[in-house]
């Protein structure tokens, strides 16, 4: 019973089953269940206080759950201290030992395992190659830049070949440009080693760019688990939709049904259409559409299919590649629209009347009520 699962590829690397953690009156993690596959890059995404860090610290062993099981490659590890768990962690501010050299930092776990010195050195050199810091063995952490310290922390956590690497907002302390670069590096290292990565962040861009799957957390529960595309394109809840990317959401009553589609009429020429097999006439739908899915045309136009809303441009924000239009629509809701900056929308200015259109597939329903 204790062994069979080790090499079984269907056994999750990490399995959370009904995990709950309370701090006093606050339930930080509330009955969370999650299977993390072997070799997967999974991100726990959510605002601060959502329970993502606590969840990670429970996997590492720094917190013990009040309830539930945590299985590491099939074995329950609840009650086992962090030094006896087969996972390693990358800390938010790297937590490199300041009184040790880069080599001593990276070889720390090998030294504890009494690996002979020359063998240790070989391993360190190999790890430094993987994180592209060749020749830095003798430096001290204080002599390294933030990005280099990050690489040392990675090497130190990976040298032990852990069952999973836990990363706690590892890029938070870096500037934007370096962060983008490290995102690619992290992904490269993860693919190269095939290690399971559990990544905690509040940054949705990081989550979208690196993850195989994202678990969006809020108030101690996982609101949605899915691939970046699923989470971004088809958010299950208003929270997910709002937290992952900018979002336009509007609550309207269904006027008529057109086959599978629910139609919400604003006037003769304007309407919102959304696929809604289950919703009948008279139901209230919270409909969402991403800013980049909306087409923007100057003036009032009309056409046949899809959704169509007119409005007045309140603000134009030039973002470089994109231009962001804030449009006060006829339905009383301000919409945000992203268009490529080199398009014909360049002439659109504040105060202009514009028409916003999008197809039926681009909208999704976040909530339905009668």
């Amino acid at each position: 019973m204790m062994h069979a699962s080790m090499d079984d590829p269907t056994t999750p690397a990490i399995s959370l089953r009904g995990v709950t953690k309370r701090f006093g009156d606050v339930t930080a993690v509330d009955d969370v269940s999650l299977d993390i596959r072997e070799g997967e890059f999974i991100t726990l995404l959510g605002p601060s206080g959502c329970g993502k860090t606590t969840t990670m610290r429970m996997i590492a062993g720094f917190e013990e759950p009040d309830d539930g099981q945590i299985l590491l490659r099939g074995h329950d590890v609840v009650g086992i201290p962090p030094n006896k768990r087969e996972v390693n962690m990358c800390f938010q501010h790297y937590a490199l030992f300041p009184h040790m050299t880069v080599e001593e930092n990276i070889a720390y776990s090998l030294r504890l395992k009494k690996v002979p010195k020359d063998q240790r050195h070989g391993e360190v050199v190999k790890m430094l190659e993987i994180v592209r810091l060749e020749g830095y063995e003798g430096r001290r952490p204080g002599q390294l830049s933030g990005g280099q310290q990050q690489r040392v922390a990675l090497a130190r956590a990976l040298i032990n070949e852990p069952a999973a690497l836990l990363l706690d907002e590892p890029l938070g302390a870096l500037d934007v440009k370096l962060r983008k670069q490290m995102e690619l590096e992290l992904k490269r290292i993860q693919l190269e080693l095939g290690t399971t990565f559990v990544y905690v962040t509040h940054d949705q861009e990081e989550a979208l760019s690196m993850s195989d799957r994202i678990a969006v957390m809020n108030a101690g529960v996982i609101e949605q688990l899915g691939t970046p595309r699923e989470v971004y394109d088809h958010p299950d809840t208003p929270f997910v939709a709002d937290f992952v990317g900018v979002l336009n959401a509007v609550e309207l009553r269904v006027d008529t049904k057109d086959g599978e589609d629910a139609v919400m009429r604003i006037d003769d020429a304007e309407r919102i259409v959304v696929p809604a097999a289950g919703a009948g006439e008279g139901a209230m739908l919270l409909v969402a559409v991403r800013p980049e899915r909306i087409q923007l045309e100057p003036g009032e136009t009309d056409g046949a299919a899809g959704s169509r809303v007119t409005g007045k441009v309140a603000q134009v924000v030039y973002l470089g590649t994109l231009t962001q239009f804030h449009v006060d629509t006829r339905i009383g809701k301000r919409f945000v629209v992203h268009r490529l900056s080199d398009e014909g929308t360049a002439g659109v200015a504040e105060g202009d009347t514009v028409t916003l259109t999008w197809t039926r597939e681009d909208a999704s329903i976040l909530r339905e009520s009668v």
């Binding site: 390693n88 009184h99 002599q143 390294l144 933030g146 302390a173 905690v200």
Partner: protein, 284 residues
Amino acid sequence: MNPAISKGGRRALWAMFVLLTIFLYAPIVILIIFSFNNREIVSFPWEGFTTRWYHEFLRNSELLNALKTSAFVALLTAIMTTALAVPAAIAFVRRRFFAKGLVSGILLAPLVIPLVVFGISLLILFNTIGIPQSALTIAIGHIVIALPFAILVLVPRIERIPPSLEEASRDLGAGGLTTFRLITLPLLFPALISAALISYTISFDEVVVASFINGEATTFPLYLYSQLRLPRKLPAVIAVAVVVMVVSVLVVVASEVGRVLADRRLERQTGGSVEELALSGGKG
């Protein structure tokens, strides 16, 4: 220069500083002068420079024994106090426990309890439970007096060691003791030295408590005090006091310089982010 202070105000502040310095150091300067005065009685006039008082104290075996006793008591105090202060300080900074305020109050109380009262209490206690008085009982008394100082020296340093360093060590496979030995202790080392030196100095010149519980043992301050009745021996006593003082000052200055340098090094090594690290404890 602070433009908010007028020229007159600045002069007044300087004058105050100078007066305060004289007030603090004049007695010490006088002592040094008299230790070189070639006169049997400790007073002016100046009768010529001599080092004979220094030679005399080196021949005084009673005095040298007292110095030895003091050195032993102070060393014992320094080692024991530091050994006790480290776990106490770590507990204060890292752990939450029942009645923490009360416990810290009890540990720091010796700072405010009058030494005379404490000395009498110890005397009664040792008599009641039948512990013979000796250099060891003096050391016990001194450990209690020095402990709050040692704790107060260690606490700020521990506060600046990010808990994530200890967590990283645990995460990488080290148990609690190994983490303490390989991570906490080396980072704590400069403060450890400071705590030991402070305990040493406190013990070395403590006379009140020692006078109650010394038994047959005579420490240097006790000897000094007893010699005040014999004016003939006073010049030599002053000479040895000067030596002790100079040595103490050198040791304290050296340790402070060492501590500041070590602090700067830690600062550089961690890229000045130690505080930042310490603040980013548990969240999420």
